[in-house]
């Protein structure tokens, strides 16, 4: 009996707290909107955020494209018949994948390209390309190795050359296997672009951070930043979802 009563009191307590919060929120709403308006819109901060977003997007796209390119390159090294290329591929994967992205970026910017007056942006693109490439190389390799070699042999017996058999048989099948991991690789790339500020690239996180310290009110800037990153991640998800749907429809 006593237990039941206790439960009831707790339930009522929860409901009351919930309503209290909502009421407080409703009364506070104009102030929140006002504060948001003044920190983000009136101050012109949204322009900065838009700039940052563009940089983040550029970094992501360049990272993904270069990453796919480097990934394919390293993957073909690892799968080649030449022993020295195989070892080189293994070393590249081990080094690039094992190094934290920030370290890699700083190494490139402050050591490799120092004094060459190459813009930080391009260095960052290269860094992300290399890092993503090392991950993608392994994704590609495992998904190519998952293909039944006898199917490729069957294609060769029909007269397909090595490269055409790869293009018509291996590639479509391994792409299907690689896709989900490839997608999550790009999503994590988006998030890793947030450290490009270390080598003075003004991307979204750097802008948001600056905005917070300048206005003394980091909440709105951070909140907006998180929402934008989430939006980007879901955009990627959406693109792959559409692609999947199209694939299923065929």
């Amino acid at each position: 009996m006593a237990k039941k009563k206790l439960h009831r009191i707790i339930n009522i307590g929860f409901v009351m707290v919930f309503f209290a919060l909502i009421t407080w929120g409703i009364f506070q709403l104009p102030r929140i909107v006002e504060a948001f308006y003044s920190t983000i819109v009136v101050s012109g901060a949204y322009l900065g955020i838009w700039m940052g977003l563009k940089v983040t997007l550029a970094l992501t796209m360049a990272g993904a494209l270069l990453g796919t390119f480097f990934g394919a390159l390293i993957c073909s090294m690892r799968m080649s018949n030449i022993r020295s290329l195989q070892i080189l591929g293994q070393i590249l994967v081990a080094v690039l994948r094992g190094t934290p992205v920030v370290m890699l970026l700083m190494f490139l910017y402050f050591f490799v390209f120092v004094g060459n007056y190459i813009e930080a942006m391009y260095v960052a693109m290269l860094g992300y390309g290399l890092n993503t490439g090392s991950h993608m190389a392994e994704i590609f390799r495992t998904s190519i190795e998952a293909i039944n070699p006898r199917e490729i042999e069957a294609a060769r017996m029909l007269g397909f050359s090595r490269s055409r058999a790869f293009f018509f048989i291996t590639l479509p099948q391994s792409w299907k296997i690689a896709k989900p991991i490839y997608e999550s690789c790009i999503v994590s790339l988006i998030q890793w672009t947030s450290v490009a500020g270390y080598i003075s690239v003004t991307e979204l996180t750097r802008i948001v951070n600056g905005l917070g310290s300048r206005t003394g009110n980091p909440f709105f800037a951070l909140f907006l930043g998180i929402v934008i990153y989430l939006g980007l991640a879901y955009t990627v998800r959406f693109i792959f979802w559409i692609d999947n749907k199209r694939g299923l429809a065929q």
Binding site: E151, A154, R156, M157, L158, G159, F160, S161, F168, I169
Partner: protein
């Protein structure tokens, strides 16, 4: 058409091909038989240069395909291969599996390739499956599609590498029927097979492989009915045996029937054969238990002997005790009728405390 000279292939220490010579004319159908490890598949695969021979030459239509730098892709367009494991392209449906090569290699237009594919599907009796994915098909259907895929390239030579070995016994027939249809179309066929009856029916020549060479070759009649060399004789007349012993009254009848079934399935006996063997043995064993071993533990042994080539099944039943012909003396009218009806002949003899019953099915 195909000429092979002194073909050698080693894997490390293992000598697989040991100097093969062969001459095959256009339109011939060669069945390659032999024990496992005799190098049949390696020989077949080296015809397509899927295994690179260590030594020796292969001429196809007068061209030496073993020359380094020879355009193998061009040569393989004229040559088809059907595998034990089908190896259909798993990301494409049946129709695309068949049309891919004609479209991409021969440059055929999509509608033309599809039309041709549908004709081939009709030939193998699978038009209804044109849109199915390979994973949805049975083994026999997959193999028929694989044959259609190979035919779509109008090959002059088809290599069959144990086309029915991976199939359920019930599906072997449908695939063999398709291969039979290809006879007389001028396609040169090389078939590695364990289906002796099929080999005898369709082949124009039999290659018996052993010791890494074509040990003996000749017409099916010669190889199967009067093989000349000792190893061929041994292989052709080889018998498959299965023995079972019953020494306790509460033996496991179900297990016995199941193991007979397993043995028969393994050697590809027909359903009727299997059923008859099971029925006869079951009847005899139960009658024996009822008649002879009422007061003591049974002592029954039986052996099934299957001559792979003649497809004859023999049952030998040995039971210890007094002389008694169980079929004459231990069965009722109906049982006797079944037994004599199902078996071709039977004999009974008694020798030093043991009854011997021989039956031929």
């Amino acid at each position: 058409m195909i000429k092979v000279e002194n073909l050698h292939k080693n894997y490390g220490e293992l000598r697989v091909l040991n100097g093969i010579d062969a001459d095959i004319d256009e339109g011939e159908c060669i069945a390659i038989i032999g024990g496992s490890g005799a190098g049949k598949s390696v020989f077949l695969r080296s015809m397509a240069m899927l295994e690179i021979p260590d030594q020796g030459t292969i001429w196809i239509e007068g061209e030496n395909i073993t020359t380094p730098g020879f355009n193998l892709n061009k040569m393989r367009e004229k040559m088809g291969m059907v595998y034990q494991g089908f190896h259909l392209f798993s990301h494409l449906n049946v129709l695309d599996n068949i049309t891919l090569a004609p479209r991409k290699i021969l440059g055929m237009s999509q509608p033309k390739a599809q039309q041709k594919a549908m004709e081939l599907l009709e030939m193998v009796g699978l038009t209804a499956k044109a849109k199915a994915m390979p994973q949805q098909l049975s083994g026999g259907q997959c193999q028929r599609i694989a044959i259609a895929r190979c035919l779509a390239m109008n090959p002059k030579i088809i290599l069959f590498d144990e086309p029915t070995s991976a199939l359920d016994p019930t599906m072997v027939g449908e695939v063999l029927a398709i291969i039979r249809k290809l006879l007389g179309r001028g396609i040169t066929m090389l078939i590695v097979t364990h289906e002796m009856g099929f080999a005898q029916d369709v082949a124009s020549r039999i290659f018996y492989m052993d010791e890494g060479i074509i040990y003996e070759q000749g017409s099916p009649e010669r190889i199967f009915n009067s093989p000349q060399l000792p190893k061929t004789k041994n292989f052709i007349q080889k018998l498959k045996l299965f023995s079972y012993e019953i020494v306790s009254k509460d033996f496991d009848l179900i297990a016995m029937v199941a193991s007979i079934d397993q043995f028969c399935q393994k050697y590809g006996l027909t359903k009727e054969h299997i059923f008859t063997a099971q029925l006869l043995l079951e009847e005899i064993v139960t009658s024996l238990l009822r008649k002879c071993y009422t007061d003591r533990q049974p002592d029954i042994q039986f052996t099934i002997e299957y001559a792979e080539f003649t497809k004859k099944l023999k049952l030998f039943i040995v039971y210890r005790g007094e002389s008694i012909n169980i079929i004459e003396e231990g069965m009722d009218e109906i049982q006797r009728m079944i037994l004599t009806g199902k078996s071709e002949s039977y004999t009974h003899s008694y020798d030093s405390g043991a009854n011997h019953l021989k039956m031929i099915i």
